[in-house]
Every structure is written in C-alpha cells, then in structure tokens.
Amino acid sequence: MSVLAEKVITRDWAKGPNHTLAGYKKNGGYAQLKKALTMAPAAITDEVKKSGLRGRGGAGFPTGLKWSFVPSLEKNSKPRYLAINADESEPGTAKDRFILENDPHLMLEGIGIACFALGAHTCYIYSRGEFKHPSAVLDKAIEEAYADGIFGKKLMGTDYELNVYQVRGAGAYICGEETALLESLEGKKGWPRLKPPFPAVVGLFGCPTVVNNVETIASLPRIFEKGSEWFMKLGTGKSGGTRLVTVSGAVIRPGTYEVGMDTSLRELIYAKEYGQGLPEGRTVKACIPGGSSAPVLNADELDVKLEFDAFKPLQSMAGSGGVMVMDDTACMVRCLWRVARFYAEESCGQCTPCREGQPWMARIIRKIEEGRGESADLDTLINVAQAIAPWPPIGLGNTICALGDAGALPVQSFVQKFRKEFEDHIAQKRCPHGDQPWGVFGEFK
C-alpha cells in the first residue's frame, strides 16, 4: 500500500485556513509566480511539458503540449485567452469544488504562471452555477489579489497586464465540454463546436484560447517550487503528480482524497486512510472509476492503478476521478437508469444520435427496471448505444462532442458486465431487489 509521501494540491490544507491571501502567503504563496515572471515564456511551457502534468478534467491530455498548440504571435497576432474550467459536473466528481473553497489562491497563482507563458492578458474562470459558496470564496480571493497588486495593470509589479474574471454558469453539464464552455463564455447556449479548429487556434471570440481544469492549473505553483523532475517522479509512467479523487457510494468513509498515481481502486476503497471498505457482510459488485461516463468495472477489476493510461486495457478511463462504488445489494439496472437519465437530460440537443438516443436508452432501461421489459429490449438498447458511439470505444463516436460517448459507453459496459441482472428483470417482470434497489446506506430508504 503506497501512502502518499508528498501532497501536491492539499499540502497546506491541514495547517489551517488557506483560502485567504494572508494564509496563502504565509505558506510561501505567490513566490512561484514571481519566479516564473523572470523566465522566458517558452521555458515555462517546457517545464510544464517535462513535469508530465496531464489534464485533470477528464481527458488526461498533456498540459504543456496543449499550450504549445497556441500559434506564435508572428503567425497569429490576435489576443490570447486562458479559460479555466471550474464547471465541475461529471457525476461522481467532487474535487475542484474543494480547491476553490480551500485554496483558491493556489489556482490563481497557477493562472498567473499559465497566462504569462501563453501571452494571455485575460483569464476567465468559468465556474459552475450551482457553486454559490465556492464562487463567493473565489470572488473574495480575486479581489484580494487585485488589492495586493498581484493582478491588474502590473502583474506582481511587472509591466505585464493580467485581468482575471469569474463567470458563473447557470446549470448545464454540457458547458464542461471545452468548446461549449467557450460558447457559454461568449454569452450563448452551450452547444459544442466542431473540431478542428481547436480552441488553441480558434477559441474564445475567435482568438487562440487554452482551456484548463482547476486542479491542472492549481498544480503549477508546486511544479515551479519543487521542479518538473520532482513532479514527474511523484507520478508513474507518463503521468506526473498526484490525483484528487472522490470515492462515493457504498464505502464507509466516502470523501475526496489526494492519492498517488500508483494507488489502486482497491486501495482507495479499502484503505483506512481512504474509503475504509464496505459495511460488514457487504462486498463490491461494481465500481465506476472516473465519473459516470467511465465504463463500469466489476469486482475483479479493482487492482487497476489510478494512473491515466492504466484503464485503457479495461476499456474504461481514469476520467475526472469520480469513483462510485456499488455493493452486492445494489440493483445495476436501477443504477444505470440514474446514469442514463442524466445524459438524456443533459444532451444539448445539437446532434440527432445523442438528442434522440439518450432519452430512448433511458426509457428502455426504466421499462426494464419497472418490470415491463421484453426480451428484444436489450438488443434495441445496445443498437441505440452503438449508433451513438461504437463499442469497444475508439475515441469519438457519431456526435460533435464526447457527451454522446459519455452516455452510450456506460450502457454498453453495464449490459455487457451485468447482463444477467437485466435478463432477470425481464424474465421475472419485476426488479428482483423489490423496493430496496440501493443497497445498504442512508436513513432514507
């Protein structure tokens, strides 16, 4: 069992309040931005590349590489923007919220470093509409940073101007998709854009734009404090650093924990530092490893490490670190219905396979769960899923953005791995779990 020797994001959280500028500075805050401002922008990007930092929003794309796609000023003289994706809404994921609440300046310092490297003079932080409290903490932090002369006309006293604004969403999962986020930042409904062109070339207001997740950007100050080599070594394989993961569902101690990349799902679920296992007599039946769009794993697949590339052989993904655990008493049809209903509700309506297919799948699953399923329904379900995104997963399915895949792949994986439960529902014309489909937890049965 690998207990994390050094923490990255949550390092200072136990020392007391770190959400104020005074608290953050006491722990050495903003020294790394100061240092970065003495470096050449290209050298900053190089450090980030060497660190092995990968996007924590779900895709795990190498951050430095993403930055390097922004064309040079000679090739494209338009202003460039940094947009922070704080629209945390992938079911199962609850980590960025804690960064905003506990350490907003860590992200703001990272924003300063990233903007200087990219030549961006404006950063928009797109935060989730439902984050009333985290947004208020962040607003206060931004205000403090301006008042202290960190942001504004003279970034940390240099001649570099940087303005940082928070924009709150208004309740739409799709706006976590980076091009939908840009549309929303432009004041429109969140309809994803066809790529290419990628945002690095044509992004916000038609200008080169980098979109990075909160946790990704919050990792930057540590990389410049301890060095890219240190960060790379903390991780494993091609992924540097640590991960913030949320374990939820049927564990004794659900919560958000910073773990090493070499931590396995099994350790996360059972270790006393993390989930502390399941109540007596209960066993794991299934586990969704990276937010609800990540294909489900069964009890035999828990030894996979949380590193980004480790899930590929299992046809699943590390995603956004939302680990949801289902015990042996949970009804898998009911669980899938909750997931399918979400994607049906959140489909933006732009592409036909997703707009029509997601609600169709949700209706079929509900029909099976309620005991009205017929033997042909499972084939129909798989056909609809297949029309949205092919299984096994190949990357992008038949829709403009990945929401299509996000809804179709869980359906494929649930039916493939727990087919008998679906068949039992159909054969018995009822849910075998009766009115107790949710396992063991909670007072509200």
Binding site: A94, A170, G171, P254, T256, F444
Partner: protein, 162 residues
C-alpha cells in the same frame, strides 16, 4: 400603465452591475455578458420577467431571441416565477446510493408537493449531480448547499422555511 420593472434601488443596482460586467469583455463583445447579466436580473427579481430580458438584450446590444435562448437553455434560470423556496435535490447515482430517492419522497411528503411542481411556496425538483458525491446525499435551497443529510438535518432545514 403597468408597474415599472425595477424600484429605484433595483434600477441603480442593475445599471451599476451591467456597467461592471461590460467592463470584463472586449467593447465589441457586449453580448458575451448574457449569462451574468441574466443572473443579475434574476438576483433582483427572483426570476426573468420578459420585460427584464428585453432590457438585458438592449443593454448588451443583443436580441430578445438570444436572451430567451440562453434563459431557456440553462436550468438555473427561471422564465416563470418560482416558489419562494427552490429546493434542488440531487438524485444522481452517488446520492442515490446514499438514499436520495428516499429523501426526495420524504420531502414530497413533508412539503405536500410533487417533485417538478412549481407551487407558490415551494418549487421542489430533482437536479443533477452537485459535486458533493463524497458528502451525499445533498440538496440546495435557493442555491445554498446542504450535504451529509439525515432526517434530523432535513427537518431542521425545513423548519427554517416555514
């Protein structure tokens, strides 16, 4: 003559708010402020009255259609006046595994309303994952977040509403 949309105080807040928001965007991109401007309107009126959306569109040099398109796309915007207390209950998987469906039924029974029905006092509805999965189940009352809920905690919350 219909009543004016804003009181004098609200008008002042609206004007100042719009001016501040517009300063965040390039001068030729005023319509980018649509979401925050509608949020500002809703914070003053609890919902988005048609004449308010018209005003927002005008200030942002946009169109009423564009304002409506945004207002109806995002679930947090109310194009109809909501009950005094908007109660959003997460029933997504992580919360459901900790009893969210039962909690919703408990709320329906306690409040005498059905999820999805917009009453004068309560607008109880199911909402999507609120990024509180490690602290499930959870709900929000007028955007204030409450987590790790039990019957005792829910009862205490409801008591404050009456």
């Amino acid at each position: 003559m219909s009543e004016p949309l804003f009181t004098a105080d609200e008008q002042k807040k609206f004007d100042a708010g719009i001016a501040e928001l517009l300063s965040h965007y390039p001068p030729d991109r005023k319509s980018a402020a649509m979401l925050p401007a509608l949020r500002l309107l809703q914070s003053l009126k609890t919902w988005l009255p048609p004449e308010g959306m018209q005003l927002v569109a005008q200030r942002l040099e946009s169109t009423v259609e564009a304002a409506y398109e945004v207002a109806t796309f995002y679930v947090m915007f109310h194009t109809k006046k909501p009950g005094t207390y908007v109660i959003d209950v997460c029933t997504n998987l992580a919360c459901a595994l900790r009893g969210a469906e039962g909690m919703l039924a408990y709320l329906e029974q306690k409040l005498g309303t059905k999820a999805g029905e917009n009453g004068e006092k309560y607008f109880l509805r199911e909402t999507e994952c609120l990024a509180s999965c490690g602290t499930a189940p959870c709900l929000q009352i007028n955007e204030d977040h409450h987590e790790n809920l039990t019957k005792v905690k829910v009862d205490a919350l409801l008591e404050k509403l009456s």
